[in-house]
């Protein structure tokens, strides 16, 4: 019998798995960088060199001044990576949080309510899932950006001004892509508990739909939601980086890592460091998130197995 309950216990169990622990620490470091990166970066992300200096500072190999070297425009790669962490992690994080929230809401309600509501919503979600993610993302991102930037809807204009049309449309794309997936996961988790005694007990005392969804069902889908959320985060980073690599994601001069790889690709042989550092950063970030969520999943599986 366990005396601890919930989250602390969960963290404690993860801490017992070295791989999961290390990857969790790495993820936390990356998140920390996304928050404080710009403050600690030695240079501005867009500090391009002008005049004669520029030629000398272009594509310089790592040195004490520029610990990861400079790129083709003479910008400090280390600083760019630090600045870029925000775009690379922040945007996907916000977007997947949104997707997870909306998806959870849809999943909970369709799973619990069922009937034609479930049928209709699920069919719609299936249609969205019927298009390969990247294809949908490609078509949508080229569609949404101009719509947003030409919008005259009050409120949206300010929003677009503040966040930028590109960031908003990336977010919308991620949300649209992942809501169906999250909803599906949450729906099936909801179906698992929907007919359990304690839910029926709540029904029988006349609890409202919202109370049942959020106070009774939600806690039991939360663990799978957390795992799914971290998976979504890794896919969102993956997607944003890939779109950046295709030149469609976060727009320059923002130092998004995928875009950095794209820009550096031309200098693959001359200045390989310009490519390897962002590649390494992306790879280690995504691998860490995956190993972390795998650890979480294993802990959760043990939990369930034991109960």
């Amino acid at each position: 019998m366990r005396n601890e309950h919930g989250f602390i216990n969960f963290i404690r169990q993860i801490a017992q798995r070295p791989v999961a622990l290390v990857s969790m620490v790495i993820v936390l470091i990356f998140i920390l960088l996304a928050v404080i990166g710009p403050a600690v970066a030695p240079y501005e992300f867009d500090a391009i060199q002008r005049g004669e200096d520029r030629r000398a500072l272009r594509n310089t190999p790592p040195s004490t001044t520029y610990i990861m070297g400079t790129d083709s425009r003479g910008r400090d790669i280390f600083s760019r990576l630090l600045w870029g962490a925000r775009d690379t992690i922040g945007l996907p994080a916000v977007a997947s949080l949104l997707a997870v929230s909306i998806g959870a809401l849809i999943g909970l309600s369709t799973g619990y309510v069922g009937g034609w509501y479930d049928e209709t919503v699920s069919r719609l979600m299936d249609s969205l899932l019927a298009i390969p993610a990247l294809v949908l993302a490609l078509v949508m991102i080229t569609t949404i950006v101009p719509i947003l930037s030409n919008t005259e809807v009050l409120g949206l204009v300010q929003l677009v001004d503040f966040f930028g049309a590109n960031n908003i449309s990336l977010t919308v794309v991620i949300v649209l892509l992942y809501v169906p997936i999250v909803a599906r996961v949450v729906r099936s988790a909801t179906l698992n508990v929907r007919d359990l005694g304690y839910i029926e007990a709540a029904k029988l005392r006349g609890e409202s739909l919202l109370y049942i969804l959020f106070s009774e069902i939600f806690p039991s889908v939360l663990p799978s939601l957390v795992v799914e959320g971290s998976l979504r985060l890794s896919y969102a980073i993956f997607l944003v980086a890939s779109l950046g690599f295709l030149g469609l994601g976060v727009q320059p001069p923002s130092p998004e890592w995928g875009r950095m790889v794209l820009d550096a690709r031309n200098f693959m042989t001359e200045a390989p460091w310009t490519m390897w550092f962002p590649v390494l950063a992306i790879a280690s970030l995504i691998i860490s998130i995956n190993l972390m969520s795998d650890g979480m999943r294993r802990v959760l599986r043990n939990e369930i197995g034991r109960e």
Binding site: S127, I131, V139
Partner: protein
């Protein structure tokens, strides 16, 4: 089973139809005036009118949609807006053939490897081997394709010169030429697949191994290999087959990034260029094909699952 097949097929058609509407609507929203994109920014108004008239773009959207759908269904897929306006169908089918080659080669690499890895990991659950396989598969599955692609290209094409860095496809290539071209994109794609399939196989294998019928088989006195091969594998591979079928859909349209890295003329890269050029007939045809293959792959997965699973087959 018959009822199941019919229901799934109808659902598939419905999904594809819904998707075609979504796609059509999205393509209409694509930025930029088509005529201007094709005819150039300095095209004169009469040039643009000529173009719109020629491709029926002066008609209202629903009319365009119905025309397009009708044409699509009767095999008349229209003509490309660009490059000598070739008919869309042979163009797309050629790309499809290329994508199929890549998909086939990828599956050839990925499926046996990952199933073996998955079984190996499952049979040694929680051993160092299992952990190593898990960590590696989790890692490769998470790497963006452009990362693996670029790394592989640097090592094997630019460094060692074993394979081609860019895929210049021609009609007269020999099988060996094809392999040299397909190898790197296929390895890149199979990294992702190996990650998925290995994990799937491992998980379902472990689940199956814990089931009571394995105990029954053991207590019949059957040797371990017989139990694995005759009893466990068939049940354990069911979910794997699903994943493989679904990944066909992904390989046909979802590997835009890989095709981009290696400049491979598959459907994904054609799609990107159609989006950029707003070459709507090609764009629509390709997305429809991708969606259709994607849906078909899903259907195939379900049907295979049902067919191999007597519980569903005999329902």
């Amino acid at each position: 089973m018959g009822r199941y097949v019919i229901r799934r097929t109808l659902t598939l058609l419905l999904t594809v139809l819904l998707t075609s509407i979504i796609i059509f609507a999205l393509t209409q929203l694509l930025p930029g005036d088509v005529a201007k994109l094709v005819m150039g920014r300095e095209a004169s108004p009469s040039e643009i009118d000529n173009f719109n008239e020629r491709f029926g773009l002066d008609k209202p959207m629903p009319v365009q949609y119905v025309r397009w759908l009708g044409g699509f269904l009767t095999g008349e897929w229209g003509r490309s807006y660009i490059q000598g306006n070739p008919p869309v169908r042979p163009l797309v089918t050629e790309r499809m053939a290329n994508s199929l080659r890549l998909a086939g080669f990828t599956l050839l690499l990925a499926v046996p490897t990952s199933i073996l890895l998955g079984i190996g990991a499952a049979l040694n659950e929680d051993s160092w081997l299992d952990n190593a396989i898990s960590i590696v598969s989790l890692s490769v599955v998470g790497l963006p394709e452009f990362v693996t692609g670029i790394v592989l290209m640097n090592i094997f094409a630019l460094g060692l010169g074993w394979f081609e860095a860019t895929s210049l496809v021609s009609d007269t290539m020999s099988l060996l030429d094809w392999i040299r071209i397909l190898a790197l994109p296929a390895i890149t794609a199979s990294f992702v697949l190996i990650g998925y399939i290995t994990r799937m196989t491992r998980a379902s294998m472990i689940d199956e191994l814990k089931k009571s019928y394995v105990r029954t088989a053991t207590l019949k006195g059957l040797p371990r290999p017989t139990i694995i091969l005759r009893h466990v594998l068939r049940n354990a591979l069911l979910p794997t087959i699903t994943v493989i079928a679904i990944s066909i859909g992904w390989l046909m349209g979802g590997i835009v990034v890989i095709e981009n890295v290696f400049n491979y003329p598959g459907m994904g890269s054609e799609l990107v260029s159609a989006v950029e050029k707003k070459n709507i007939p090609v764009l629509q045809a390709i997305t429809m094909i991708i969606v259709f293959i994607f849906a078909l792959a899903n259907l195939l997965a379900d049907l295979l699952y049902a067919l191999l699973n007597p519980r569903i087959r005999l329902e």
